[in-house]
């Protein structure tokens, strides 16, 4: 067990010194969790793959600034979140987050029959029009039900700031839906 943890620490130390071999090991170890995290934010498999590449590129470029005490996973997640945020800012609201057949984002198995498909689509579109900073907090905290502490760490803000962003995002979403005659 000790050998395993000292091996991992050694790997992180080598990565910090710029070893590509150590970086590849870390990539193989964490690529799936980084990809899944990004996919949860952007909900587009092709964009999530590109952003995973961009994230690991940024990770390697920042290798000298890596602090082992913080842990690689949390650090990678924070970089991934900011890469995804950049993507959300650069992507036209109408083209992102639309229901993707590959993710089966239409009605879930437990869908409320009283909520029509049209309302679901309009809700997704209204959500997509939220400012990216609010959308990313609401996506992770409400849609994906990630612990607020983890969302805060990934965004580099406090838990109180996450709650505030979620609250503001939901308030804007409600106003947008009410303008369309939908009262949630």
């Amino acid at each position: 067990m000790e050998n395993g943890s000292s091996g991992a620490a050694n790997q992180l130390d080598q990565f910090r010194q710029g070893s590509v071999a150590a970086f590849e090991t870390l990539f193989r170890l964490h690529r799936r969790s980084v990809y899944a995290w990004i996919l949860r934010i952007v909900r587009n498999p092709a964009a999530a793959e590109d952003l995973t590449i961009e994230t690991f590129y940024r990770i390697y470029r920042a290798h000298a600034r890596f602090q082992p005490a913080r842990g690689f996973e949390a650090w990678a997640r924070s970089i991934a979140t900011h890469a995804a945020l950049d993507w959300l800012r650069a992507t036209h609201p109408e083209s992102a987050l639309l229901p993707d057949p590959a993710l089966e984002l239409a009605a879930p198995a437990t869908a409320d029959p009283a909520v029509s498909a049209e309302i679901r689509v309009k809700t997704a579109q209204a959500f997509n029009r939220l400012p990216p900073k609010l959308r990313i907090a609401a996506t992770l905290a409400v849609v994906e039900e990630q612990p607020q502490k983890e969302v805060a760490m990934a965004l580099g803000i406090s838990v109180a700031a996450v709650k505030l962003r979620v609250f503001r995002g939901l308030r804007l979403l409600r106003k947008d839906l009410e303008r369309q005659g939908i009262t949630p």
Partner: protein
Amino acid sequence: MNARNEDRLKRLLQEALPRIEGEPEPGRDLWPAVLRRLDAQPAAPPWFDWALLAGLVGFVAFFPASIPVFLYYL
């Protein structure tokens, strides 16, 4: 917005955008693309970025009183 309304809105949002279950994998091996990205030269800033910076420096040189305004908006 009271707690009950907020819960209803959250439920509607979760119905519109169902959560992604499990830990999905990328559809391809991304390592070769990461290596290609690392080998590629970083893109140089476009010329208009330099022009904008030069314009800003010139403006500040002629109107130093505008510096606090810029600092406020940064």
